[in-house]
Symmetry: C2
């Protein structure tokens, strides 16, 4: 029957239907094969236990649904000539995506040893979840992917990130009903309030309700359909339902839904791009309701499997030992009629490939999923435009992030036409003093506006939503598709995305080892509103531990910078924005901070990563220092300099060296991090045997963890944040945590031998100053004048 | 005009309206006073700069809305005799909650020095955000609070946690429109699918749309009302709208909405408790739309403030220096007509207090917000019932978490009537092998069911939703209101709640220092499906860093246990379930694991936290060991014992000591953690000078960070996970990370001097075994028989 013979107007002719179904069956067959087979890939022989993998690993349950979506995306991509990318939220369904990539040929092009024939099929099967093979999930190794989907929650924000500034791209996004329960996913539905139909591409969410998670029903699958529709409309979408377990009926319904959705998207984009009224559209969403483990065993050992949670991983678990299971597996595999799908050489037959698009339009071959192929160097203006003049160290003050805002504005302006740079943050751009950027771009916003709003812009590239998860997901999607960005965040609350950055680091670590993945722009964090200056918020906003978290991860990927002043922040920012394949963490204050280094000095200092500030110390060429005052971070540097000044005045005979560390990984051993210093270098900087009083921005033991192998480690005494926080004055915060200038001087006196009676008196004076401080703040609520008015030069 | 004179049937008489408005004005006045005033609290004198705090800190914007909700909750609590608790999502509006607590008297009862009179008011004002005073947020210091609201996102899950198993409790929950954008909040709306109207109390969400966050409009505030209603109905709620900026009109609307909501709740509960049809009700939600900074300055310096983001913190910033600002502040304060609100002694007048309930019904005095007053010891069955027999070490295998499941089932059964214990987890109870618990309680579930479902139970106390955030929020709310629980989670994905556990630890740290807060049950994590056994999932599921994260926090609160086998897990679980005011992290495997210790031995070992396993070593009383093999965690213990066996066989002359560590904080210095060992004890256990090869479950440098001050630290060599992960065999995972038995033996040979030629041969044999392993797994996909079949006794 041809299409025009269908009285009910279904979209597919019988021929199309047959071809789509063949493709889907082929993908299902290949998915099952990957989970089970070591040998006999085309079932040319009766199936035997010896053909079965010794360890059965993987996830069948979601695979047939993913195969259906891939198949139908192929159809519309080919038919409409689309540029498309798909995010596979249930990425544990790795077999499905690998199967489709192999079918379309992109897998063999990426990995020529896995050819598109019987031998290649055999390798495809064997390598899956096999030692030395490929991981069980969609991962960096998977062609066409920018999203692993191992830790659930980020598919939709990744999809939006990919769509931003890609006006001709369709980003489909399969969301599992398990993933839909997570917070990050739930928040990211509102991303459509930030998607510009003029400059951005489209996101087509496919909410896949297969009913069960690992062992439980999924919440959204168990809402009455009307209630689910209310929810999706409340998210700003128009739902299209595809429901069923009869493949032919579902193919027709899915094709119809895809056509309707893509027509709607085209309509929305055309209207917006032809200057139609600027109102937020309702974007389509497809709700796909098919059984978990669809087409797999209906029952196993008398228990229902298809359509239940029992289909989640490996439905037949005892295939090697239980002949019934083996027979059931063989029947299952043969139910796809492999002989109709693959030719004598094991190549997919023409009908199977009829729906597959060509070249870069194949989902496994799109360069958008290998963003390094598309990324261009970011046009960063010369830092001289922004650098602050420094006549002498510590005589002027600037707010480092405010000056950085000028640089970001410069980058934003320089990318106005290219549109390949975004600034993201959880409603903190202005709070973090980066608001200069609004001169070059407003804030993306498609929802209602009022007359009191400022800087909202339907076409803006500053992205603010009060969801660190969504910010991170957007940026990851944006970077992995070949663009650039910066995430500015309160230091304490970046922990909200601890687990997301884990996954991104793992992705980059894996990508770097793949010959075919080109380097992408680094994920850059600016952490500000930091632990030492939470005047408005106190204890809940005090946590410098993100650095510790990140430094646990793959050293080839992670970088941590603590610029001590404005010009060093500019140099660090310039460096990280140019870099590739890293996660860069930059911690810098937004409060007025003394300028210590000129731009040229800052450049040299940042290039070294750590160095002696000769002007601040009192050692001379004739002898070694008696003590090293080391510091990392803006507030610790300030206190260290103040301590150096006190020592210079009160103990003038003492030879003090001041060392500042910008790049924390310099402290690590050379074999533990690419930036690690040689021991000889470390000894030269910190001395092998003198006391080192190290004032560090965060948790003090981190410095020990980085430096424990160093010669002089036993002489290292670190001060830092030790969870002594509340709403109080800035100086009281350092006093509470024993990071203040007076305590640092006491530490020096306690650790340098033979300082004599004068030092005893100085020590007492320091202790008295701390006592005076306590009394003063309780009386006045502000820091003592000697603190507030202190300058290095004074 | 009396109520019966109102033609439109508004709920409040003029007298009631006047009294409610007086209370609200008083709370607003006190809120502003806290932000600004050091002196002259009742404005008896004209306001002068000297009366103004030198540092103006706090958040005005949300305060009038919170004051409105508090006022109207007072009304319904008093009128209906309710037992109620309120979660203040916008907890940065600390001034509001403090003001109300002071008005109702609960503040002065808790802190007698802040009396309910002029002097107390003066102290209330001065102490706010002042050094030595109280934090600017609702915090543990705030009477009536279990929720800080500093890090946004958790109000609603806390509210549900508080309502569970509290059938007579109303938990109101104010959700800011900023917080509503976060993922955790977005996910937690679906908590109503888990709330049992029979055994649980009610949650009444009040979504407060004041329109702006710090600097941006809020998404939900900028949806058309019809779209917002669809969203809320999609969440399973019936929205009631209260909108306006005219106080009297808003009071009437709010009173009406509260009455409607509470009538609906009563109806739902009555129907369910009288055995009505078991269907999920639609619970009410109030949408409160009032201006940000309502009743504050309309404009400042010519710019609009009320109703905009400029009202977020301190609307008049230059009051001490700018006479116009000072005058504007005075006019603002006087607009509340303090003279009508407070008597000559500064006490609230009777009209102001007319709506305030009595005693424990006051929101600031409810014992539900001081759960330690309500908590009872958990009935934990004797461990003998569950312990596994151990004839000799390492001869039998058990799955530790499966046996733990029996214990949890015992606790669940013993609390069947009390209903004060819950097990929470993100759809992993069965995956984590705790399914025995279903014999005592099913899984809470109020959504649709099908015939294939298992263990779903409208009245169940096992809570599973695929949102770690929601699990954590539920449990925190449950514990802080005086109950018990356990959170079982995949080890890698507990990082999802890194920031939440930060906040809970901070809460407990602060609570412990407050005389009036009674200790609550600890927050207990069971982390399983751990890094070493991710056979199905690979690299994305491999992260043991939660321990590192937690150990950065307040040592008086955090505890970390790595039981090496089943009986030690039972002992640890028993201990943590009995404990108070801690965050306990227990890491244990679910895969078959050798039994090393009998229950009695396990008790002793766990009590010590770390100890020598004499039976495993080869030292004797005549001499010191040549080397110490230390281990922590089940897989490292297994490999260490295997290494000890190899050494015993191949280097019989070597005196080996085996040390197992269960309690990681024992490694810390005595002054750094309450469990820290004395140096003498550490030296006795690990020796001061012998090589220590430490096989650790997680990132190896953690052990250095804990032990860097110890005498023998330079001899400590730690092996652990170093991000070398993928989908592979269990033994390949340890080989990839150099934690395997062969590598440990090589480490011993490399570090013990003078072992001679035989050791050279042994070392080569170990290296050969590793090579053999690599070849074997690539060929067979499984571990070598010598690995798979290994036993200690064999």
């Amino acid at each position: 029957m041809r299409k025009d013979e269908h009285p009910d107007g279904v979209p597919l002719t019988d021929e199309e239907l047959s071809a789509l179904d063949a493709h889907w069956r082929a993908a299902n067959y290949l998915s099952v094969g990957q989970i089970y087979l070591m040998d006999n890939p085309l079932l040319r022989k009766p199936l035997e236990a010896a053909h079965i993998k010794p360890r059965l690993l993987g996830h069948w349950g979601t695979s047939p649904g993913l195969n259906l979506v891939y198949t139908h995306l192929n159809r519309v991509i080919r038919r409409r000539g689309l540029d498309a990318l798909c995010i596979w939220g249930p990425g544990h369904g790795g077999p499905a995506v690998l199967a489709n990539s192999w079918l379309e040929g992109s897998y063999s092009e990426t990995y020529p040893d896995v050819s598109r024939d019987e031998e290649g099929m055999s390798r495809l099967f064997r390598q899956f979840s096999f030692p030395g093979g490929v991981p069980s999930h969609v991962a960096a190794e998977t062609p066409g992917s920018i999203h692993e989907g191992g830790e659930l929650g980020y598919s939709l924000s990744h999809a939006y990130g990919a769509a931003l500034d890609n006006p001709d791209l369709l980003v489909a996004c399969v969301i599992g009903d398990g993933e839909a329960e997570t917070g990050p996913l739930a928040a990211s539905w509102h991303s459509n309030k930030f998607l510009d139909p003029v400059h951005d591409g489209a996101v087509l969410p496919v909410l896949h309700l297969n009913g069960y998670k690992i062992a439980n029903p999924a919440v959204l699958a168990r809402l009455p359909e009307a209630e689910l529709d209310e929810l999706l409309r409340g998210y700003g979408h128009d739902p299209l339902h595809v429901t069923g377990d009869d493949p032919h009926q579902v193919h027709q319904a899915m094709a119809a839904a895809m056509d309707t959705a893509l027509d709607a998207i085209r309509g929305i984009q055309q209207a917006a791009r032809e200057g139609g009224p600027a109102r937020r559209p309702r974007w389509p969403v497809i709700v796909l309701r098919t059984p978990k483990g669809w087409t797999g065993p209906q029952t196993v050992d008398g228990l229902p499997v298809e359509g239940t949670w029992r289909a989640h991983q490996v439905p037949l678990a005892a295939v090697r030992d239980n002949p019934d299971h083996l027979a059931q597996l063989e029947a299952w595999l043969r139910s796809y009629r492999p002989e109709e799908l693959f030719d004598d050489q094991g190549r997919p037959r023409a009908e199977v490939l009829a729906c597959v698009p060509q070249d870069r339009q194949r989902l496994g071959a799109t360069p958008h999923a290998n963003g390094g192929l598309l990324v261009r160097d970011l046009p960063i203006p010369a830092l001289e435009r922004f650098a602050v003049p420094v006549e002498e160290p510590g005589s002027t003050l600037h707010e480092p992030t405010r000056v950085l805002g000028d640089l970001v504005e410069g980058v934003m302006a320089a990318t106005a036409d290219r549109r390949d740079f975004r600034l993201v943050g959880p409603d903190e751009t202005a709070s973090n003093r980066l608001q200069a950027v609004y001169a070059a771009s407003g804030k993306a916003w498609q929802a209602q506006t009022t007359s009191t709003d400022e800087h909202l812009d339907r076409h803006g590239r500053v992205m603010e939503i009060l969801s660190e998860h969504t910010c991170q997901g957007w940026l990851e999607g944006y970077l992995l598709t070949g663009r650039h960005g910066l995430f500015s965040c309160y230091e304490a609350f970046v922990h909200i995305v601890d687990s997301m950055v884990n996954q991104h680091i793992k992705w980059l670590r894996t990508s770097r080892a793949l010959h075919w993945r080109a380097p992408v722009a680094s994920l850059n964090y600016l952490l500000t509103s930091h632990v030492w200056r939470q005047d408005h918020n106190g204890f809940s906003h005090q946590d410098p531990g993100f650095v510790d978290h990140v430094l646990n991860k793959s050293p080839e990927v992670v970088r941590v910078y603590l610029p001590p002043d404005t010009n060093t922040l500019l140099c660090v920012a310039d460096h990280v924005l140019r870099s590739r394949d890293y996660v860069n963490v930059v911690v810098a204050g937004k409060q007025p901070c003394f300028d210590w280094l000129t731009l040229d000095e800052a450049r040299v200092h940042c290039a070294r990563g750590a160095g002696v500030w000769e002007w601040a110390g009192t050692e001379d060429s004739t002898r070694e220092p008696d003590v090293v005052l080391a510091c990392a971070g803006d507030v610790p540097t300030h206190e260290t300099l103040a301590a150096a000044g006190l020592l210079r005045r009160h103990l003038p005979g003492l030879a003090v060296r001041v060392v500042n560390v910008v790049d924390m990984t310099r402290l690590m051993p050379q074999d533990a991090h690419p930036h690690g210093m040689a021991d000889s270098e470390f000894d030269a900087l910190f001395t092998p045997d003198k006391p080192v009083i190290f004032a560090y921005h965060g948790y003090p033991w981190l410095v020990h963890r980085l430096a424990y192998r160093r010669t002089g480690h036993a002489n290292l005494h670190v001060r830092g944040y030790k969870e002594m926080g509340t709403t109080t004055t800035p100086f009281d915060m350092v006093v509470r945590n024993d990071l203040d200038r007076y305590r640092l001087v006491m530490d020096v006196i306690d650790r340098v031998p033979g300082l004599g009676a004068r030092a005893v008196g100085v020590r007492q004076a320091m202790a008295d100053a701390r006592t005076r401080h306590h009394a003063y703040i309780r009386e006045h609520g502000t820091d003592m004048p000697e603190i507030a008015d202190w300058t290095w030069s004074g």
